[in-house]
Amino acid sequence: MTSQDEAPLHRRLGLQDDEYDRIVGTLGREPNRAELAMYSVMWSEHCSYKSSKIHLKTLPIEGPAVLVGPGQDAGAVDVGDGMAAVFKMESHSHPSAIEPYQGAATGVGGIVRDIISMGARPVALLDPLMFGPLTEAKNRWLFEGVIAGIGGYGNCIGVPTVGGEIRFADAHSSNPCVNVMCVGLARAEDLVTATSLTPHVGSFMVLYGAATGRDGIGGVSVLASATLEGGAEGSRPSVQIGDPFAEKLLIEASLELIADGLLEGLQDLGGAGLTCALSESAARAGMGARLDLDAVPLREAGMEAFEILTSESQERMLAIVHPSRLDEVRAVCARWGLAIAVVAELTEGGRLEVRSGGEVVADVPARSLTDDSPEYDRPRTAPGPVRGEDPTFAPFDGDPQEALLTLLRSATIASKRWAFEQYDQIVQGNTVDGPGSDAAIVRIDGTLKGLALSADGKGRFGRLDPYLGAMHAVAEAARNVAVSGARPLAITNCLNFGDPERPEVMWQFAESIRGLRDACEALGTPVTGGNVSFYNESGDSAIDPTPVIGMLGLLEDHRLRVPSAFPRGGLVIYLLGETFAELGGSEFAEAVLDAPGGQPPALDLERERALLDMLHDAAGHVMLQSAHDCGDGGLAVTLAECAIGTGHGFAVMVPGDLPPHVTLFSESASRAVIAVEPAAEPALVALAAEHGVACERLGETGGPRAVIEGLVDVPVADLADTWAHAIPRLLGEAV
């Protein structure tokens, strides 16, 4: 027996001593085992946001397009024609680190249920992922398992996976980050929110979907709210097991129940299981609830009260149903082969009373679990110098062409086709642009409009400067949407950090929030919700502060979308924006110079805004033949990607008086490489001047070679081969 087992129960459940005292104060007595389990999951970092909410409150959440802001299962924005786009991002990093397939799969399932809970049909998934280098066997196992899990689940529920970046960094070796974003569509008037439906005292709380088992007990408190130390495999029973077939039935049944007007409320069961769904539903209704555990369909006999209350068994939903509609609800669920169980009813007053075998096994105020959770202003300390030498002015006598090939081969930049091919990208028939584009474009069914979606994080910059890193993530996500011709509307996010109880991590978090706030305000893209994933560290290895931004934009006519690659020869290539001597934190510094320090590129939000506006205008005037965000790997990689996409080469001269390698590989912000017809040049130059965006003619598209005068001269096919096969080669596959 270890000392861990001898600690008081509340500590073993992840509660602090003062949190325990607070529970005693609320109840006026010692909590029993079941009650303690309920508080431990609801007051876990994952569910309560106790370390982060004080900072999250400072984010801008209002804007003309926002229909539903933070605090609901997902945010929603107005996309016109009476339609709402609902979107949310979450992490499933901890479960995925232990069991990659099921961890990633159930992450998809969970976020999809968040969207269903809002009354929206899920129409797109994006998966931003971060792994350690593929040169290590364990990372290959994690990578392959996570990709298979995302596909295994997503492909089975009929929701296309249309995007999400995949990045690699040493810090993720022990701590992979698995984020997943889901986007749904609903008629705005049908959105299910806390205020859109009116529950009644005496209404039933109906559980439907899968039976409740012992899987995922305490997942939020055991896995998601603590660091993964050695022997984490012992936590495997806390990983949930997914059944995507059941999820598909849940989607269809839930949407039918909502369309038929049969519900007074709807909530998914995710983290903290029944306890969370019940207490949140009751607290939102301003009521209490009486729960009968004997009515909960169980997968196995002999489950204890605390297990039923905190199980995170997947594919379950909780609906509030007026007794007069119960038969209709049962009929809809039966049609989809789903059993229902009336497990609770809404009561006056605010108590959550749980019975089992006729006895009261828990009796707590519902709000004390949800709204009254602790809130901490944890200590913050700026870490010592982390930047090291700035590589920008270090001499470089290497071959620029070799450096370009090295970058195209680096896993973060190389083609992710190996992964994306394992996802169903086209089901539902509205995928205009899928994975691999700057932004995914998903047509709004039955219209010409398109949702433009991107998910971006900048851990490399975040490590060196979390404030800048967060701003870059927002700016890049917005730019990815804007180069497609769309207008960025709003964001969701997943904030991936280390242990918040370390002052350095908390400082990184607060700095990142400050960056998010400033960038979202300047770019006019409010925050509609998100998720915080702390404790991404093990041993002495913590991840870089990595806020991942999920950007949603709107394209008024998807046929006017701008492709990222050169569509043909004979076009004129321009660089929008300016290149500065900024190699700090760049992919070049890391992959070629092995010097991952320095100062990340500056970000002038006014310039960024001007570029976004100009791109949107130019697309509206059908001026752009292609446009590609200038990001990882700088100008040289951006040009190469424009050529690789279609095979059309280019010949350019790089201007300016910076050293050539700095011009080629600097990752200065607020830039895009575009191609226009020669006849459109005057209009382009005029439009750029109007918006105050620097606009420099680089050369022309055409021919089979990629030529940067005096620096690079190589067949596009060679670039394509290097880029396309890098990841299969790292995985040891014959190509």
Binding site: G151, N155, W336, Q422, G429
Partner: protein
């Protein structure tokens, strides 16, 4: 819907995923789409039937194995026996093989991974409800997406399938060459789709319903849907 348009039913099983896409493709190509429900015996007077893609019943047991025993499948078997046009796409193809309406079986891709990509198909015969009017040798660009799409059969059965011209589509290169490089899943003889002896029942792994709208993909599915609607109309007139 245009008066006189053929009525094409699309069956929804629990776990069907591309049923709405198939209904939309029928409408796009000028047919009258009719939603059919697995649990019942009502074919709603349709002139043709599509079994869509997806994971019916979660593909538990084997892909298509449970759906093959759905109540509506009895009617579809009888409908096929009367010469009615039946098209199985992906999971629908798996179901038709499980029912014995089509030869062979679909097993896991040779890579053991799910694959979603555009492929080129070569039409091998015009003697089917889906390829009538097409030229053998013609190529079509169509996406596929499946984890269990490797068509196989027994050594005894294969000569019959090949000899009687039951092979309807093969995976090929962009220029129509049938070779190992263009075989995405390890299917025997690059077989992507087969027909029954009468030619009214056809199954294929790629998804023609995702290849009728140029805004969201290639258009190789258009001639197949056009032919299928024509077959439906011909059956309706007969």
């Amino acid at each position: 819907m245009t008066a006189g348009a053929p009525r094409v039913g699309v069956v929804t099983f629990p776990g069907s995923l591309d049923d709405r896409d198939a209904l939309r493709a029928v409408a796009t190509m000028g047919g009258d789409p009719v939603a059919l429900w697995h649990a019942g015996h009502d074919l709603r007077g349709v002139d043709a039937v599509i079994l869509p893609g997806g994971f019916s019943y979660g593909d538990y047991l084997r892909a298509g194995a449970i759906a093959a025993h759905a109540p509506l499948m009895e009617e579809i078997r009888a409908f096929a026996g009367r010469g009615g046009p039946v098209l199985g796409i992906c999971n629908g193809f798996q179901i038709l093989c499980e029912t014995g309406l089509l030869p062979g079986a679909l097993i896991r891709n040779r890579s053991l991974r799910f694959i979603c990509r555009e492929v080129t198909l070569r039409v091998e015969t015009a003697q089917t409800s889906v390829t009538r009017g097409l030229e053998p040798g013609e190529t079509l660009r169509i996406p596929l997406k499946h984890g269990e799409g490797q068509w196989v059969t027994t050594p005894e059965q294969l000569p019959r399938v090949e000899g009687e011209g039951l092979v309807t589509f093969r995976y090929c290169s962009a220029t129509g060459i049938v070779d190992a490089d263009s075989n995405p899943n390890g299917a025997t003889n690059n077989i992507a789709g087969v027909r029954n002896e009468a030619g009214n029942v056809v199954g294929l792994m790629p998804h023609p319903e995702h290849a009728v709208d140029p805004d969201v993909g290639p258009t190789g599915g258009q001639p197949l849907f056009a032919a299928f609607l024509e077959s439906a109309l011909a059956g309706a007139r007969a």
